[in-house]
């Protein structure tokens, strides 16, 4: 059994050592807001925060997250109040199909934690997640708006 602290709550799961965090979240604990996109860490759809840093959970064994604080998209809002990045995403009407957006939002939260006023170059360097719909302009605008707000 491993114990994971997800969005402030402890969960005990019976998962083998090699099992990536993504599948523990999605298929065992039903945190389905975190998405499977590629399984090889190439697209970022599965991005979650582990101790505040962006981690591609498809390529991160769940056992490594023991004793750390895991935040998923479901844990970002504070009660009924959306996180400022989520609100900025709505204001910019950023999502199209939306499937990559949990990962994009988590990556943006991690970026803003490290660099509260990111430049375009900072955004280029940190935001490497794929958006197949091509909503990059709206995502960039939303990050800048969240930095201001």
């Amino acid at each position: 059994m491993i114990t994971l602290t997800i969005n402030g709550k402890a969960h005990s799961v019976d998962a083998e050592e090699a099992m990536p965090l993504l599948w523990v979240l999605r298929d065992i604990l039903n945190f389905t807001g975190t998405k499977y996109g590629c399984g090889v860490g190439a697209c970022g759809a599965c991005t979650v925060l582990v101790d505040g840093a962006a981690v591609r959970s498809c390529s991160y064994p769940a056992v490594l997250a023991q004793g750390k604080a895991i935040t998923t998209i479901e844990g970002l809002a504070d009660g009924g109040t959306l996180h400022k990045v989520q609100q900025a995403w709505i204001d910019a009407q950023a999502p199209q199909c939306g499937f990559c957006q949990s990962g994009q939002i988590m990556a943006a939260v991690a970026l803003l934690k490290e660099k509260p006023q990111p430049t375009d170059e900072d955004i280029d360097a940190a935001m490497t997640n794929i958006c197949r719909c091509g909503a990059y302009a709206e995502i960039r605008a939303a990050i800048h708006a969240a930095a201001k707000g």
């Binding site: 599948w23 794929i130 302009a137």
Partner: protein, 740 residues
């Protein structure tokens, strides 16, 4: 999304339903309700495609027969209906129509569904024009594709339904108050009779309104009176997409549900010969191995365990006839096909052969484009649950009704025994259209052998290697430029032709022109991919036009201009794109610009791309200016996003995209070798719209059509290297200095 229950769906036109007004409306543009009934409906069945329900609480629910995949139709279509209804937008809600015959034209639906190979029913294959046929397909069969939702369903259906419902409410109020219909005004979901001071909400008048017949011919509002259409309205689907609550197909969870991961024959058309199931069955969580004719499936208690166990198997395949295929052999076959007699002629005017034969100099070029994968972010998947003789299906489909019928056929059940539940859809781009629902069929086949609910998942690798690809193509172009710099002949010969009709055409005034094509040159499964044949033909035609401009020694913008003198809308977007981009001013040092124009799905779009070559020798696209005339725009924010997104989609293909084949197998496996444009590589885009008031065009696909040629033309302007084979990353330009 709410649920529409069957008991609401009754009556021939309008009905009291749950205490409100329900308006269904025959929306086939070429006929009245009676004529439509004659074709399709049976006694006691409802001929409806689009619906609005008005509640006693004054709510307005618009029922939309299309799927939302990020293009915004779950908002833009209700906007169109609400506008004509004079509804209070804050009271408007949206429901996706259930995959139910009651929400489809019975006759048209049956015609199509009896023959799922896609042939058009006889009564539609006659003199009906393209728009009529597409309208029937798109609205009545719930297909979401071809950029049709707004321009067909919205224009022909939503607007008329909204206007009809409004007219019925006015009739009801006039009768109740004993006044003239003409003296009643409507605004914000209220009916007002100014002279007497009487007023009522739509909700209060809805039941009385339902007793009137649905008027067939109702005047529509002039655009100048629009209060909702044309305003940036926030999309209904977005809040659930930022907090993780949107349930996509892959997110469906049911008690006791199992996860199934599939490996189909790596060679197209191959069959499963045998597989030793033991290595998988010995692994943790695995409950079952299911053998299909052409695939092996491992069923487990989670996706990862199923995936790991599948990897432990060594299936033996009968690889069949395609085991020797390579990309080179496929392209060679296309080249050979183009030299043979008997090509089909798509169109011809003048005498192109004589013009070519009599020319002093013929400009010739051969272009090649590879296969492409749709690669939506959400891999193919479907969840099914068979309980006795009832089957439930969950997933994202670009046609819910066809999905339901296909599931029923596969399971050998009556359609009535199958429930199709729409989930959110993580991208479609054509992959989830009716002809390509292999994942649904396989999920049902697996579901028939598994006890309890099961979710079939394609891994990214399976999704990438087993698509219905954008087909590869080769084009041979021949053209003649006369002494005055005018094109006198343009012959376009291509391998494979699909859709849409306008993709092979252009509006340049050229006296002798023709397009001919070879068929049957693509052995891989292939199908519609965002903007369909525009992706190849846009590149071929607009690159060749650029080559002709240079042969004539003319500026590519001025050269196109000179050939568009009789096409004012095209001329306007071309000039706007040039103006926006500063075409006649020098590009920044180390950069150059290229131009391209297409008419796609009823929308005219001109693009200018500004490029450089990086220190690594690879092309960079810094800026793209798009000038677009879609006739009118419904929701400006989503329209711009669609043009930008469509451009990125085409740019990913132009710069990076190639699905290649070796030994009958797709080589590319994942985003590691099928790269996309990402944030750092995404050009700065400027989109400007001309609302000419012409017939409403599409938004989802036009942005994809011109971009490859615009980029290639810019690369030529910069380097003098004309790249005639995509993707551009494979071209050698030499290291530049213009990288940002």
């Amino acid at each position: 999304m709410g649920k529409v229950t069957r008991r609401l769906v009754i009556f021939g036109g309008a009905a009291v339903a749950g205490g409100g007004l329900l308006v269904g409306y025959a929306t086939l543009p070429w006929q009245t309700l009676d004529r439509a009934r004659q074709i399709g409906a049976r006694e006691g069945e409802t001929l409806v495609a689009t619906w609005v329900r008005i509640g006693k609480d004054n709510s307005v629910t618009v029922i939309v027969p299309h799927s939302e995949m990020g293009q915004g139709v779950h908002t833009s279509l209700p906007m169109m209906l609400a506008e004509e209804l004079d509804a209070d937008w804050s009271l408007v809600r949206m429901e996706q129509a259930p995959a139910d015959m009651a929400f489809a034209n019975q006759g048209l639906a049956r015609g199509f569904l009896d023959d799922l190979t896609g042939s058009v029913p006889r009564f539609l294959s006659g003199p009906l024009d393209f728009v009529a046929r597409k309208t029937a397909e798109a609205m009545n069969l719930q297909t979401t594709g071809g950029s049709t939702s707004v321009r067909f369903t919205g224009v022909a259906g939503m607007r008329r339904t909204g206007a009809a419902a409004r007219a019925m409410l006015v009739k009801a109020a006039a009768a109740a108050w004993g006044v003239d219909e003409a003296s009643i005004t409507t605004e914000n979901s209220r009916l007002v009779h100014a002279a007497s001071g009487k007023s009522a909400t739509y909700g209060e008048m809805a039941e009385a309104a339902a007793k009137f017949d649905v008027p067939v011919d109702v005047p529509l509002k002039p655009r100048k009176d629009y209060k909702i259409v044309g305003k940036p309205i926030r999309r209904f689907d977005i809040p659930a997409k930022v907090d993780g609550s949107a349930v996509y197909g892959l997110d469906k969870r049911l008690p006791g549900m199992r996860f199934a991961v599939i490996a189909a024959s790596p060679v197209f058309g191959g069959k499963l010969k045998s597989v030793d199931e033991k290595p998988a069955l010995a692994m943790r969580g695995v409950s079952q191995v299911v053998k299909l004719e052409d695939a092996v499936v491992v069923v487990a208690d989670n996706t990862w365990r199923a995936k790991e166990a599948l990897a432990a198997l060594s299936p033996v395949w009968d690889e069949g006839a395609n085991a020797g295929l390579t990309s080179a052999s496929i392209i060679a076959g296309m080249d050979a096909a183009l030299t043979k007699d008997g090509l089909s002629e798509e169109y011809a005017s003048g005498d192109v052969d004589a013009a070519l034969a009599g020319a002093k100099k013929v400009v010739e070029a051969r272009y090649v484009v590879p296969y492409l994968a749709h690669a939506p972010m959400e891999v193919m998947n479907t969840t099914v649950h068979l309980e006795g003789d009832r089957l439930s299906v969950w997933g994202g489909f670009q046609d819910g009704l066809t999905a339901r019928v296909l599931a029923a056929k596969t399971a050998g059940l009556p359609v009535d025994n199958v429930t199709l539940n729409h989930t959110a859809m993580g991208g479609g781009f054509g992959r989830r259209l009716p002809d390509y629902m292999d994942y649904l069929v396989r999920a049902v086949k697996v579901g028939l052998q598994v006890k309890g609910p099961v979710q079939l998942v394609y891994t990214r690798e399976e999704d990438m290697t087993h698509g219905f690809f954008r087909h590869a193509s080769v084009a041979r172009m021949r053209g003649v430029v006369d002494d005055k710099g005018r094109v006198t002949a343009f012959l376009n010969t291509v391998a494979e032709r699909h859709d849409p009709p306008e993709a092979g055409r252009f509006n340049y005034a050229i006296p002798n022109q023709a397009m001919r094509y070879a068929s049957g040159t693509n052995p891989l499964p292939w199908g519609a991919w965002r903007s369909v044949d525009h992706t190849q033909l846009g590149f071929f035609i607009e690159t060749f036009m650029d080559e002709l401009a240079h042969a004539a020694g003319q500026d590519p913008h001025a050269f196109r201009r000179a050939h568009l003198a009789s096409a004012p809308r095209h001329l306007a977007v071309l000039d706007l794109a040039a103006e926006m981009s500063g075409w006649n001013t020098p590009a920044p040092a180390g950069r150059a610009r290229g131009i391209s124009i297409r008419e796609a799905f009823g929308t005219i779009i001109a693009q200018v791309a500004e490029v450089s070559i990086g220190a690594d020798g690879l092309p960079r696209v810094h800026r793209v200016w798009s000038a677009v005339d879609p006739g009118e725009v419904i929701n400006p924010a989503t329209f711009t996003a669609q043009i930008e997104g469509g451009t990125i989609f085409g740019l990913s293909a132009a710069l990076h995209g190639a699905i290649t084949v070796d030994k009958g197998r797709v080589v590319e496996q994942n985003f590691t070798d099928y790269e996309m444009v990402r944030m750092a590589d995404a050009p700065v885009q400027v989109v400007k719209v001309i609302e000419s008031g012409a017939a409403t065009g599409g938004a989802g696909e036009p942005g994809t059509a011109p971009i490859a040629a615009a980029v290639g033309n810019a690369l030529f302007a910069l380097t003098g290297v004309r790249v005639r084979a995509l993707p551009f990353r494979l071209a050698r330009f030499g290291a530049g200095e213009g990288a940002k």
